[in-house]
Symmetry: C2
Subunit: 404 residues, 2 copies
């Protein structure tokens, strides 16, 4: 049996719903991948009695507990105090933690407030987890059945600490048999269609199949047991990728994360040593924005008159003509190897109304001539904008993968 | 005292972190606004024993509990069964629920599977909550101290049921006194500096002050009791806004949400009937992308050669000169009333490294001449990009508010 693990989040902002608790989902996913059996998440606010009660409950129920929040300097940060009371451990001043907090303020040329001293008080016998990214150190301790790890609630600090040290502490302390997770990333095909095309592929009972639809793409996740034969795993993943087809833009293996769609395009563009220029309409800058850090992108342009004025050419063919002319002119001026032009058909009312749709016209000018692609997209204004950017980027990705 | 309320989410996908539990945050926020005291969130997977135990715990602890998930037709949907066992209530076939489920399938020309009959089994004495959006009806019942409401886990169905009927059921059943929430939204000033400038303002004890730092802006939140004198509330909010100064871009009252920074700029631009054009560098399209749906934005442009080539002019004055020349040329070509140009100083290494910083040079060309502003920004590549976009937009907002 895998050891059980609970997630515990502290903070009024979580319990009142001001913050969506992304820490809990992130830690749960990491823990499942390490081989834990995650059994419960709990969030409570900043009331000492609630915290003490919950810590005592968990101490008898789980083998491990990952706790976030409540390590800050202010009066509503009660975690260390609650631990001290729940487990009858005195709080002790930790000079190393204090020096780290001092250094944090010195480095930023800011005076250290008296209240920050509180963050250097740790329960007796706790193991300090150093935090070089913020002011609050984490800590860990065993009580009754459970090993508790306390981490800051700021997501970037929490993840940094987890990556830097907590993951290793967990694998050292527990006997874990992590499964092997494979993720197929797709764009342009929904969850129910994925289920339909994958239905004919028989999966062994011990393989878990799951889907996760995000704003950027849809993930098909396969969790294999740690001792599943490698060869059989590879065959199954290949069969699934083949069934889904060109919608798959990347496959994350245990050792080879491909990143998101922009990362995949970036890798291909760099490998093929190409440059590109964009002309945007419905995405209004978001296509270029997704390519931040990509030096192959020479320029982008959004011009309302260009994007919106000719909303009603007589025939669809005129849209393609318009887009191709823009692409040719842009290539001549910019000198880019590839020019992607996206126009859309639909007036303001269609663009703004979440129940109405617009039609995208993508043209890609390459060294071998033009490629065309058209999509109908719907949803809120922001969803249409994001879909327009993603579908344009994916159009580029499909061309580059064909040329690979 | 306000009645206490807990949120309870059922599902392996939540507990293993495959899904971020946005239902919990949404329901918590709605409940706080109705006047409940939200005390705890819990998520458990699909194990009958865990569900039964948790339901019994909550029945003795809270006045109300909103539960999501586990109402589907498959074998891992155990909510009704768990309720029946926990509270010793037999499951009864509900013919009205059955007819609704049948209608759902008929309407979609899909055969109704035998397993869907299960969804028409409700615990004896439960009040059915009709669901015209999906297959699973919700239900509600009192056990011991607590009134439980069970809702489907699909967010759109859950929200629809809550809006259609649950909100009214709650306000009818409980005596609630919702507080008045005021939110001051700021950009460019951090949480600790906000605390420092606000420290001299004495707040009555019954007013709750909180901060919420997001990616887009920082919120200072004031929750006043329902019977707090209106005049006193207005004075306090004004005093706080004055202490913070021009960093405040908007104030959300209970009846007047201002939206985010782009919404505020959009309102001002439309009221003043102006048009604008942007030249972007570090934001790489993101500044224009944030203004989606704003017809006053005539164009944006990102050009790597323009943004990056002259990385080392002899003196800072040359940066301003360069930006001003670009602005003047863009105004002439586009005819926009306002032209915002943002250049940045810093090579790729500085831009990409999260521990290094770049310097932004913002120039705004107006009918009365130029305005200038400079910022040093740091953090990851994506954070720098986002800050560059936000600070440029805020530069425009400050000008427009001065002219109001």
């Amino acid at each position: 049996m895998n050891p059980t693990l609970e997630i515990f989040s502290q903070g009024e902002e979580v319990v009142t719903g001001q913050t969506v608790d992304t820490n809990a989902a992130w830690l749960a996913q990491e823990s499942v991948q390490l081989g834990f059996n995650v059994t419960r998440h709990t969030a409570v606010g900043d009331k000492l009695g609630d915290l003490v009660g919950l810590l005592r409950e968990i101490a008898t129920r789980a083998d491990c507990c990952l706790c976030t929040g409540g390590l800050g300097p202010t009066s509503d940060d009660l975690t260390a105090e609650a631990v001290a009371e729940a487990f009858a451990l005195p709080l002790q001043f930790d000079p190393v933690a204090y020096a780290q907090i001092e250094r944090f303020f010195n480095f930023r040329n800011r005076p250290m407030a008296a209240i920050n001293r509180k963050q250097a008080l740790l329960p007796a016998g706790a193991r300090r987890i150093d935090n070089d990214w913020g002011t609050a150190p984490g800590f860990a301790l065993q009580y009754q059945r459970c090993w508790f790890v306390f981490l800051p609630g700021v997501p970037s600090e929490m993840r940094h600490l987890f990556d830097e040290s907590v993951r290793t502490l967990l694998t050292d302390r527990f006997s874990l048999q992590p499964g092997q997770l494979i993720t197929l990333k797709t764009l342009g095909i929904g969850e129910s269609d994925l289920q339909t095309v994958l239905a004919p592929i028989a999966l062994p009972e011990q393989v878990q199949l799951g889907f996760r639809a995000g704003i950027e793409h849809v993930e098909t996740k396969l969790l294999f047991p740690h001792d599943f034969p490698r060869q059989h795993m590879t065959e199954l993943v290949q069969a699934m990728a083949q069934a889904i087809g060109a919608y798959v833009f990347g496959i994350d293996g245990p050792d080879a994360p491909v990143g998101d769609l922009a990362d995949v395009v970036n890798t291909l563009m760099n490998a093929q040593q190409r440059t590109a220029a964009f002309v945007e309409s419905a995405s209004q800058g978001l296509l270029a924005a997704k390519c931040i850090g990509c030096n192959w992108l020479l320029e982008t342009r959004f011009n309302r008159a260009e994007a919106q004025a000719p909303q009603n050419p007589a025939v669809t063919a005129d849209w393609w003509e318009l887009a191709k002319n823009l692409a040719a002119a842009t290539q001549q001026r910019s000198g880019a190897d590839l020019v992607l032009v996206q126009l859309y058909q639909g007036d303001d009312a269609l663009f703004h109304d979440k129940d109405l749709s617009i039609v995208l016209y993508n043209v890609l000018l390459t060294t071998e001539g033009f490629r065309e692609q058209s999509h109908t997209i719907n949803g809120t204004l922001k969803r249409k904008q994001n879909q327009a950017a993603l579908l344009a980027l994916d159009f580029l990705r499909r061309y580059l993968q064909d040329k690979n």
